[in-house]
Amino acid sequence: MGHSTIVTPTPQGGFQTHTVAHHFKTAEQEFQSAKLAFWLFLATEVMLFGGLFAAYIYFHDVYPETFQKGGALLDWKLGALNTGLLLTSSWTMAMGVRASQLSQRKPLVWWLVLTVICAAGFMVVKYIEYSTKYHHGIFAFTGLFSPDDHYAPDLMGLAYPQLYFNLYFTMTGIHGLHVLIGMIAIAWLIWRGAQGRFHSGWYTPVELVGLYWHVVDLIWIFLFPLLYLVP
C-alpha cells in the first residue's frame, strides 16, 4: 500500500470523501496527531490565562477590599446570564461534535448555529457591561480611569481600584477575543458542514474547534466567581 491513496469511509448522503495526507500511515494516526498538537495548544492557552489568574490571586491577597468593592460594581445577574449562555453553548457544541461523529449533516449545522447564537448573546451582554462601565468613567488604562462619584462612591479612599478593573478588562477582554475567534471558527464549520465535509469518516476540525470552545467555557467558569462574586 506504499503508493496507494488512503481515504476514510464516506457515508451515504452527499458527503465528501476525505483523503488521508500522504505522510500518515492510517486515518487514526492522522486524527491523533492533529489532536495531540491541539491539546498542546490548549495547554498554552491554560498558561496564558494562568498568568492572569496568578496576578489575580496575588493582588487579591494584598488588597482584598479593592477587589471586593470593585467586584460589587459588576452586575452579577449579567455575569450569571453569560455563564448560562456559555454553558449552553458548550453543550450544543458537544452535541455538534456528536452529530458529526454520527454523520448527521443537518443536526450538525443546527447545533453549531445554536452555539454561535449563544456566543453572540454572550458578546452582546459583554458589550452592554463594557459600555456601561465606560460611560461611568471606568475602563482599563490609567488615562481612561475617572469614575464618577455617583456611580462608584465606594471607590473613594480605596487602594488602587484601577488594579481590579485592569485585571477585569484584561481577563474578560482576552476571553472575549477568544469567543470572537471561536465564533469565526464555528461559522466556518457551519459552512463546510452544510457542504457535507464532516462525517463519521472525518470530522477532525469539528473535534478541534469543539475542544477550543470548551476551554473558552472552562476559563469563564473560573472568571465568573472570581470577578463577579468577590466575597
Partner: protein, 133 residues
C-alpha cells in the same frame, strides 16, 4: 502498520481506511452533564456573599473555587471526552494544570512568607488611596 486498514473496499489503488473509531456519548449523558453544570452555577450564585449575604469568611472563595473545579472537571471529562481519550492527550492537558498549580503555589508562597523572609529590611509600602493627591 496498516492496522485496521481494510483493503477489500479498495478500488484500484485507493484504499479505504477504517482504523479511526471514536467514542460517541449519548444525548442523555450530555444533557445530564449540562443540567448538572447549570445547577452548580445556581449553587455558586446562591452561596456567594454579595448575593446571599452569607458570611463564610475565608472559606467563601475556597467553596466557590471548589464548585468551579467540579464544573471544570465535568466539562473536561465528558464534553471534551478526556475520559475516553488517549493517555498522551490526558498528559498534555492535565500536565498544564500541574504546572499551573506550581505557578499558583509559588506565587502564594512568595506573598505569605515575605515578612518572614525579610522582617526588618523591607520598607513599608505607602499605599496611595483613590481620591488622594
Amino acid at each position: 502498520m496498516a492496522h485496521g486498514t481494510d483493503t477489500s473496499h479498495g478500488h484500484g489503488d485507493t484504499v479505504v481506511d477504517h482504523s479511526h473509531h471514536a467514542h460517541v456519548c449519548s444525548f442523555q449523558a450530555f444533557f445530564g452533564i449540562y443540567v448538572v453544570l447549570l445547577f452548580l452555577t445556581f449553587v455558586t450564585v446562591a452561596i456567594a456573599e454579595p448575593v446571599s449575604g452569607l458570611h463564610l469568611g475565608s472559606a467563601s472563595m475556597l467553596v466557590a473555587m471548589a464548585v468551579a473545579a467540579v464544573k471544570a472537571s465535568l466539562v473536561m471529562t465528558v464534553f471534551m471526552h478526556l475520559r475516553w481519550d488517549t493517555a498522551m492527550n490526558n498528559l498534555a492537558f492535565l500536565g498544564s494544570l500541574i504546572f499551573l498549580s506550581l505557578l499558583f503555589l509559588f506565587t502564594l508562597a512568595d506573598h505569605s512568607t515575605r515578612q518572614v523572609a525579610d522582617p526588618i529590611g523591607g520598607t513599608p509600602v505607602d499605599v496611595k488611596r483613590f481620591g488622594e493627591n
